[in-house]
Symmetry: C2
Subunit: 235 residues, 2 copies
């Protein structure tokens, strides 16, 4: 059993934190009173407490309590007892390093396979793929592995960005980077634009939101997928 | 002894590969007949041979022969016998993984400390810093360490990009990413814009090119450094 929302971003331009997702989250967490929040990715280096407070403010609007995983003496037990889990964005290297260090990575995987409702945004979505190797983040710390939860049979590229027309910058475009990934890896990569998310219900994976997503496969021309596309057989 | 050119990019907009640097390289490699080229970063997944041919075409214009390190049975010996070395751009994770795998990382460091002229561009510049943890690249492979050559007492961020004014994209700006780096690391980070390079002569480090560079220090407001600034005492 699986029950996940895998979102490109927590925030779309012009709206508040998680605002665009709140109707979806109300339904997704309908049987959850308290959401366990994993704040390890710490965007901008803010503290775990500050980050948890921000999240609690958003979830309050749909009547949910939020408790930071960092406040538990035994995070493994906290995950095992969770009614619902949210992993927020920030730095994926930091998030993955902490998940391994705290012994939470495999526990989280097993918990999600029992059907506990999960929300991931950005870095929290990256870790639902097979590996974190298509993150956009800076490698500010060294994790013990790039392997992640494998809740979907492909990799995620959140905050997917189309090439900027007329740009004079010589750094690689997102598409070039994913092409480099495919020189050394075989799994598909789904570029999720900001405002898009995946809904995972058991083995069914559906693209949600109003935008198309860009699918990259090794040795194939990338294609655009429409909202409501079923991605269950992507691997 | 040290003798390095550490360039933000191989190519500036509108010019050919290495073209803007050729006068500098003519002087830098004046006592070098053959440059050993390290192609491991493989931009866009191209082959080592293709990449080496591209580099040879540029160096031919200043009368230098180029031999790819991948063509030597013993790359360690090739580095030890080199008259000059160039590491090209591409993916820094891939470059660092290969340098460790081939046993070249420490050998390259020792060679550079004897004063062999070195040119790095982009990923090849990243590795001259203390660590590769301020690269912009995607982690497409897992290197055994993020430690790099430490030819300068700080980290490099090549292809440094200012925030795009009016952007609606919610992904982190470069400055935010470097700020996250400084939540967990103490060394300064130098953001080198495309067209800038560092000249390292023994212990003297000088900013070259016509642009300013952006210096980030932990818990300090970033500052702009003018061309010809002496960075020797930055650490």
């Amino acid at each position: 059993m699986k029950n996940l929302i895998i979102a490109s971003t927590s925030t779309v331009y012009g709206l508040g934190y998680l605002e665009y997702l709140l109707p979806t989250l109300q339904e997704h967490f309908k049987n959850t009173d308290t959401v366990i929040f994993i704040p390890y990715a710490r965007p901008g280096g803010i503290s775990h407490d500050e980050y948890t407070n921000k999240v609690a403010g958003a979830f309050e609007k749909i009547g949910k309590k939020v408790v930071g995983l960092h406040t538990f003496e035994n995070p493994v037990q906290a995950i095992n007892n969770a009614q619902g889990i949210f992993t927020g964005g920030g730095n994926t290297f930091l998030l993955v390093k902490q998940l391994y260090k705290k012994g939470v990575m495999s526990v989280l995987k097993n918990a999600l396979l029992t059907g506990i409702p999960y929300l991931g945004c950005s870095a929290g979505s990256n870790i639902t793929g097979l590996t974190m190797e298509t993150t956009n983040d800076m490698p500010i710390v060294y994790p013990p592995s790039f392997q992640t939860l494998g809740m979907v049979p492909f990799n995620i590229n959140p905050h997917y960005l189309d090439p900027v027309e007329g740009s004079t910058h010589m750094g690689e475009t997102r598409e070039t980077r994913i092409n480099e990934f495919h020189a050394f890896n075989t799994q598909p990569v789904l570029g999720l634009r900001e405002g898009s998310w995946l809904e995972v219900r058991n083995e069914k994976i559906t693209l949600k939101g109003s935008l198309t997503a860009r699918l990259f496969r090794k040795n194939q021309t990338p294609i655009e997928l429409n909202p409501e596309t079923d991605l269950s057989d992507l691997a």
